[in-house]
Symmetry: C2
Subunit: 107 residues, 2 copies
Amino acid sequence: MRPMKHPLPTDIVLERVLYALSDPVRLDIVRRLDHLGEASCTALDCGRPKSTMSHHFRVLRDAGLIRTENDGATHINSLRRAEMDQLFPGLLTAILQAGRDGEGGSR
Amino acid sequence: MRPMKHPLPTDIVLERVLYALSDPVRLDIVRRLDHLGEASCTALDCGRPKSTMSHHFRVLRDAGLIRTENDGATHINSLRRAEMDQLFPGLLTAILQAGRDGEGGSR
DNA sequence: TCCATAGTTCGATATTTATCGAAATTACGC
DNA sequence: GCGTAATTTCGATAAATATCGAACTATGGA
């Protein structure tokens, strides 16, 4: 299986990154990848059809947020944390941190 | 003129903020508001029709990113920096900072 | 080889959104 | 009150996008 296409750091643009993260499903994927380190596509679907998930993974991949490598029949996804941190310092941290407090913290 | 509607901090949601910032025109508006402090709508259009600009301001306002107050016939826009920083610490800073170096810096 | 598994690609459809012109709204100064 | 300036609202149109089922591709066995 030929490896998937990933944009070079040079081709990663902020607007696309923000757009990719503006969808609840994708933001959730990214949050969980951050938590898990890496995961297969199936491990991250939430009852949604595969085609839908595949679409979201593609948007994230094309934006430069995640890397998808194939390990046999399954695809392993992980955050491109290093590239992101270098290109947009603090961005991912701020986004992943957001909501972890305040938005329903106490009680 | 009745004041415009602005979401309460409670109603500001990350996804919408990211979405609002994923458009080049709007990102530019926010960048310049950050630089200028405040500005009228006309001061920020870039040759684009007013109706188009009005739309973008609305998206930014509805997302909670900017505040629009009326000073007579003109509307004064400014970033809701304090609210943003409180809700999503580091987010705006990271986004406004992004690209100020690296993405074509030296040469 | 045949099958089950993991994902992608293709098509179709329904929403959302960007863009812009024209008309409506509001405020100000004369 | 009137004309002008600043914006919003309306309506239409075109382009993106989300979602899902069905078909297709690749992999690793029994």
